[in-house]
């Protein structure tokens, strides 16, 4: 009996921390979402009213749409830029190590600080427009209604592509050189080698990196809050911004929880898929 109990004592503090600070708050959010809200005090049961209001007012679906555009575009670009950089960096050339370290820098920059840097870069009289002016191009309202979404995507890709670069580079290095040699003996062209040796070898690395990045990008708050606060208007109001605004802007905590609960199924699927994949890969 004692022997069976001992391991649990070793893991108990961690399990306790996660339960108290994540599992319990999750149940609290579920409870919150069907109480209070728009009609009545915070404790009265309102059933699905909060959800209905979020959906019928259109704020929720609007935020879902923007979150999807933001997430899908940003992840695709990060994979493209990071993967491309990794493929080039995988060859030997002069200055490779310096370039790799340099390209890695954005990943080390805290999200909020990255937002601050871009605040200067993208403002009306900011860095990018000053440079464009020298080239004779009219200044662009980067953080205006039209370009705010591309701007936060730009920031997200700038900050996040090194993650793909480094993981894919590591993935490339574990593909055995003998596979390439065999392909060359069989007369495979460079493109064919990429298609039949490199890509299959990278499959799991790309899948896991993309899924992780999808969940992180989906939940992105810092970058957007610092750069645009969801504006102008609602141009960059993603789910995390919406939840924050509902809960702490209008101070309707229950409504904020309701939006969070409603958002949960959207990426729970990704999370479980990821857990399964990582567990399988790590064994």
């Amino acid at each position: 009996m004692k022997k069976q109990l001992a391991p649990f004592i070793w893991v108990a503090p961690v399990v306790l921390v996660i339960s108290v600070f994540m599992l319990f708050p999750l149940f609290q959010a579920l409870w919150d979402s069907v109480h209070g809200g728009a009609s009545g005090g915070t404790k009265s049961y309102v059933g699905l009213d909060n959800f209905k209001e979020l959906i019928s007012s259109g704020v929720f679906l609007g935020a879902v749409g923007r979150t999807l555009i933001f997430t899908l575009t940003a992840v695709a670009l990060k994979l493209l830029v990071g993967g491309g950089a990794a493929l080039i960096l995988n060859r030997a050339f002069w200055g490779r190590n310096v370039l790799r370290s340099w390209l890695f820098i954005p990943w080390t920059i805290p999200l909020f600080a990255g937002g601050i840097l871009f605040l200067w870069l993208l403002r009306m009289n900011g860095g990018l427009n000053l440079m464009l002016e020298k080239l004779g191009v009219y200044p662009v309202f980067w953080l205006g209604p039209k370009f705010a979404m591309p701007s936060i995507i730009f920031l997200n890709v700038w900050k996040g592509f090194p993650f793909f670069m480094i993981t894919i580079l590591a993935g490339l290095q574990i593909i055995p050189a003998s596979l390439y040699e065999a392909a060359q003996i069989d007369g495979a062209s460079g493109v064919q080698q990429f298609r039949y040796v490199t890509l299959p070898g990278l499959r799991n690395v790309i899948l896991i990196a993309s899924l992780l990045s999808t969940v992180w990008t989906f939940a992105q708050f810092e970058n957007i809050y610092v750069l645009t606060r969801g504006g102008p208007g609602k141009a960059t109001e993603t789910l995390s911004i919406l939840i924050y605004k509902l809960a702490f802007g209008t101070f309707n905590l229950n409504m904020g929880s309701a939006a969070a609960v409603l958002a949960l199924p959207l990426f729970l699927f990704f999370i479980f898929w990821l857990v399964k994949l990582v567990r399988k890969e790590a064994e």
């Binding site: 996660i18 491309g84 890695f104 080390t108 610092v226 995390s240």
Partner: protein
């Protein structure tokens, strides 16, 4: 052969363009931070001269950004305090959990591992309202202890998962031989395993430090008074002012960037494992 050569140069140039895009915001941040005040309203790309005045004012001139006389050293110290305490606690509990999950065999082991991994991936903004309520309930509103507690949400699952992966790579025979020599499990961990695992524990600690360092949402919902602000909130407060002092703002951003950037670049070798939480085999 000639074509190959051109191809190589083209690829190198693509990478160079990417390197320039990476440099763009950093170039501006550095040159704006080092620019003399009078230079701010010229439309020049390069500063006329360089000065550390902005950095000096940020720390020593109490009137920066009209911030109720709080030096920028205060948020710097607060962020450090929060990150160090969250990391310290988390490393201790995670070492035990990671060790047990890697070395012991017991029922429920896989379940606990999955629970930790799930917590690591789960985005905390879903439960931000509940955590806000919790902090108010236990009377930790506007306290650094409150922020540090909330950071455990991010840091503890991360460290546990990382350390579990690290201990898995250590041969079980090491523990067994220590126990044959008369060590208890705890003794084996402290005297034999930990000394060999020092690099793994150190890198988990460093990653956890940077995770806490860059977290903003929890500071935002917990802190109210200026002398309690952590770095992200202090910078946000500088932006909220009517007149943004860009030179000081960029200097502040650079100060916040330096510690994690230095730590990461010094530890590049270990980073891959950290990024994917041990999911990619090496």
């Amino acid at each position: 052969m000639r074509a190959k050569r051109w191809q190589r140069i083209a690829l190198f140039l693509i990478l160079l363009v990417l390197a320039l895009i990476v440099a763009l915001p950093l170039y501006w941040a550095v040159t704006i931070a080092l620019r003399p005040g009078a230079d701010m309203f010229t439309r020049n790309i390069a500063p006329s001269s360089l000065t550390f005045q902005n950095f000096y004012d940020l720390i020593f001139d109490r009137d920066w950004a009209g911030f109720q006389g709080v030096s920028f050293g205060v948020p710097l110290k607060n962020s450090l305090l929060v990150a160090v305490s969250a990391t310290g606690f988390s490393i201790i509990v995670s070492t035990f959990a990671g060790y047990a999950l890697a070395m012991f065999s017991f029922r429920g082991r896989e379940l606990v591992s999955s629970y930790i991994l799930l917590a690591y991936i789960f985005p905390p903004f879903i439960i931000v309202v509940s955590l806000f309520r919790f902090i108010n309930l236990v009377g930790l509103k506007d306290s650094l202890l409150g922020v540090a507690l909330l950071h455990l949400v991010i840091v503890v699952p991360y460290c546990s998962w990382m350390l579990r992966g690290y201990f898995l790579s250590i041969p079980k025979s090491l523990e067994e031989s220590a126990m044959i020599d008369g060590c208890t499990r705890m003794g084996a961990l402290l005297r034999v395993i930990l000394p060999v695992s020092a690099p793994g524990v150190a890198s988990a600690a460093i990653f956890s430090f940077t995770l806490s360092w860059q977290e903003m949402l929890f500071s935002l919902i917990t802190l109210e008074s200026h002398d309690k602000f952590t770095l992200p909130i202090a910078l946000l407060a500088m932006v909220m002012g009517d007149l943004v002092q860009w030179g000081k703002l960029m200097a502040g951003a650079l100060i916040s960037i330096a510690p994690p950037a230095i730590l990461y670049l010094a530890l590049q070798r270990w980073i891959v494992g950290g990024l994917t939480a041990g999911s990619v085999k090496r």
